[in-house]
Each structure stands twice: as C-alpha cells, then as structure tokens.
Amino acid sequence: MIRRAVLGIYSLLIVVPLVVIVGGSFKTTPDLFADPFGPPVNPTLGNYTTVLTGQGLLGVLGNSLFVVLISVPVTLLLGSLVAFAVARLPKWQSRILFGIFALGLAVPAQAIMIPQYVQFERLGLRNSLTGLILVNIVVTLPVAVFILAGFMRTLPGELYEAAEIDGAGPWATFWRIAVPVSYPSIAATAIFLVVMHWNDLLYPLLFIDDPAKRTLPLALLDFQGEYLTEYPLLFTGVVVASLPMILAYAFLQRHFVAGITAGAVKG
C-alpha cells in the first residue's frame, strides 16, 4: 500500500508539470492564466509557428546538431586513445597519465571559465562554433577517459598480447581489438557526451555572442527576454528543445540509462 502510494505520488510529481507544460504550449497566455491545469480549450498552434519561424530556431537546432556531431566523435576518439594507453602502459606511467585526466574530474568548468574566456578571446576562438566544439571536447575528456579507461583496464592483457604476437602494432591492436571489444562502454560514453554537449549552457553563454551561432539551451534562455516570460511560448521552446532528446531516450532507453549513469558515477 505504502509502496503504491509513494510511487503514485512521485509519478504525479514527474508527470503533472510535464503535462501542464505540453498542454500550455497549445494555449494562449490568458487561457493559461485562467486555467493552468485543464486541457487547452481552444488549442492553438500559434506558439509553435511563432517559436519556429520568429526565432530562427531551425538554424539554432542546426548549430546544436553540428556541435554535437563533431565534438562527440572527436572526444570519443581522443578519449579512447588515451584509455588504450592507460590500459597498456607500464603501471607507473599509466598512473601518471590517468592521474592527469582524473585531476580534471574534480575541477568544475565554472572554476576555470574566466581564464578560458580570455584565452579563447585572444586566440579568436570565441564566438565561433569551432571554439565551442574545442571547449566541449576539452571539458568532457576527463569523464570520457575515466569511463573508457575503467573499461579497457579490465580487459585481460592476453587479448592484446595475442594480437601483438601476430605482428600487429599498437595502432592495429587499438582498432582491431580494443575498440570493438569496448563497444558497450564506448556507446555508453557517446550517449553521456551527447546529453552533456546538447544541454550545455555555460560555454554557449560565455562564448557565443552572435544570435546566428546560438545553440538550443542559449536560445531557450534568451526566450525570457524576447517574450517577457510569456509562459506558453517558453513552454513551446521547452518542448521543441527537449523533443529530440526525449525521442532518442524513448528508443534507446537502456543505453541512455547506462550512459548517463556511467557518466554520473565516473564524472
């Protein structure tokens, strides 16, 4: 009984705000204020047309996609190369290499954003998607290394040695053995990185000035100013920005849970 009650109440706590948000995105402002809970009386798609046309939101979606499509594979590649080195180097060297990256886990981006801002400004990398991609890679590398090295280290050494006896160099061993065997761990890391990079606000806020280069969370934050907290429009923005992630989550649920949790545990 208690179990049911607890689960029921928590389900409502999750569902009710989400339903109100989605419902609200089909209402006009006065309708929403008049009855926040009820279903939309005169459902309108007006909010969606406003948000999608007036905001260049499609361009913004494109930017987010572009950033994620480049920064995630690059982080994965660089991270798994390091992880491979960590797994194969002699013990003390491996520890040093791993330690360098582990250091980054304890340093939140908010603590180094000020010098980073100046550095990127000087290099002309601020206000560019390239700069954003670069900083995404750098900031999430420690987590990627942590997850991937954690996995690759557990693989038996014989696996690699057998390949090396066959005459394969480390490069070949990496691509033919380490990467395929680590596939589940790489997939989990990939999902973690996608969610991190897709949802990041801090660096776009610091680095991106040009509205044409904004990513989704930043564009969403700007909604507050553009629409003076007209809730239905904010809600529409929330729905549009969240939909891709929620759809992906619906189809790749297990991988999402594994990935985000791995990131949480390791990062």
Partner: protein
C-alpha cells in the same frame, strides 16, 4: 616500445593541457591583479584579492552559505529519495521497468528547460504550486517560493532533486541487484522484518553506491549554474546566489582579477568538502 603509447595520448594531452590545465594555472596569475578584462593596463595587488574573498566579502560568503545549504539539502534529499525509489523498484516487473524509465526522464532534459518548468511551478501569482494548494484547500501553505529570501535556495534544491533523483536511483538499483539473495534469506530466517532487512542487509551492502551518489551529487551541487540562472535570472538575487553565479556576476561587473581569485577559493571549497566527505565516509564504514 611501450613509450609509443604516449603518442596515442598526445593529441588529447595537448588539447587538454592547453585549454584546461593551462587556463587553470593562468587563473592564479589573473588573481593577483585588478584587471578589469578589457583595459591594456592593470595593477598588481598581490594576495589582496584572495584575502578579500576569504575574509572581507559578504556577497561571496552569502553565496558560499547558499551553496552549502543547497548542497546539504540536495545531498540528503536526493540520496534518500533515490534510495527509497530504488528499494521500491529493484524487483523486476513490467510496472517497475516503466516507472524507472519515467523517473529517469527529467535527466535527459536541459537544465534551462527544467528551470523554466519550475519557474512556472513557483510563480506565486499564476503558478502551479499555489494554484494547486488553493485547489486542495491548503491556502495557508502558499508561499512566495523563490521570493522568500531565507528559503529560496531550498526551493531550487527541490527542482534539482526532481531533475536528478532518477539518475541516482539507477545507481542504487544496480547496487541493490548485486546483493546476493542469500543474505536476505538468512535475515528472514532470523526473523527480520522489512525494515530490519533494509537496515542490516541493504543499507550496508549499498555503501559503495552511497559513496558514489554522494560524491557525484556534491560536485553537481557546486555546478548548479544553469538551473539558477534559468530560475532566478541574471544576475540572481542574494537569496539565490551560489558560488558559480557569484563568479559570473563578478566577471560581468568587469572585475576579472577578482573573479579569478573567487574561482580559486571556489576550487579550494570543493576540495575541502570532498576531503571532509571522504573522512566522514571512512569513519562511517569503519
């Protein structure tokens, strides 16, 4: 031949060293100046910034206090809730699989989205929470939420728990599923009830998971930048200011040197809290 492997790590090391470690070190340099971030000139102030941050800055101390309040509320609230949900959903069944997926859902949203959702929940005049209280006749519980200087940060903590409890629940479920069934059987033969089984089997056995959850939640709480900016606006008012937003405000107020000094103290605070947690963790497990 093994040294060749360092070449594998080289590209990552160059980028990470150059754009992560180097700025971290450069921060130390900025922290000893009064540079405003744009002037060609600046003055060396030595350790004055640091001593000011530590001993003579109520705004920073207020942000630190808020941050610790937030940290404590989230760590306790989120850990307890995640464990409770995990215990209730550890058994495999259709319903529990569905509920796990549902509770995890908020985690995939962006913090700005979560902030907007809760901004509406908390709006004292038109929002969900007060309207709901009206509906069920609990008018006396109505509150200004984020407008209440002394409790505002705790309301943000509630939003944060809503955001991430599902994620921590999954960590706990993994921990619980690793507990051998025999331990419960043994406890049952000893006549242990549900609570005693939890107290003597589950709780000690999920200790490693608890350590992880707390460590992660701690770091997450220090980073609660997006959520607060979305909920409180920029810059947030005193009642909602945390260390990350304080640093950002200082930076926006054209005091780059001072902001760098604040960043250093910020890192020190995280290190200290993490160290204390480790000590406390060891003491508890002994």
């Amino acid at each position: 031949m093994k040294f060749k492997l360092w070449f594998f790590a080289a590209p990552a090391l160059v980028l990470y060293g150059g754009f992560f470690l180097l700025p971290a070190v450069q921060g130390l340099r900025y922290a000893t100046t009064d540079w405003d971030g744009y002037s060609p000139t600046f003055t060396e102030v030595g350790l004055a910034n640091l001593t000011d941050v530590v001993s003579d800055d109520d705004l920073f101390r207020n942000a630190l206090t808020n941050n610790l309040k937030f940290l404590l509320a989230v760590v306790i609230g989120q850990t307890a809730l995640a464990l409770l949900l995990a215990v209730l959903l550890a058994a495999r069944s259709r319903a529990s699989t569905f509920l796990r997926a549902l509770f995890f859902l908020p985690t995939v949203l962006s913090s700005v989205s979560v902030a907007f959702i809760w901004k509406f929940v908390y709006d004292p005049n038109f929002g969900l929470a007060n309207n709901l209280l009206d509906l069920v006749g609990l008018d006396s519980w109505k509150s200004a939420y984020l407008g209440d200087e002394s409790t505002a940060i705790l309301w943000v903590a509630v939003a944060q728990v809503w955001f991430h409890a599902g994620q921590m629940m999954v960590v706990y479920i993994a921990g619980i599923n690793q507990i051998p069934e025999e331990l419960y059987d043994a406890a049952k033969t000893d006549g242990a009830g549900r609570w005693q089984q939890f107290r003597h089997v589950t709780w000690p056995m999920v200790a490693p998971a608890t350590t992880l959850v707390i460590a992660y939640t701690t770091l997450q709480s220090f980073k609660a930048f997006d959520l607060i900016l979305g909920l409180a606006g920029n810059p947030p008012r005193a009642g909602l200011d945390v260390l990350a937003t304080r640093i950002y405000s200082t930076f926006a107020n054209s005091q780059l040197g001072y902001a760098a000094a604040e960043s250093i103290v910020f890192m020190a605070a995280i290190a200290l809290v993490t160290w204390l947690q480790n000590r406390a963790g060891k003491a508890v497990h002994r």
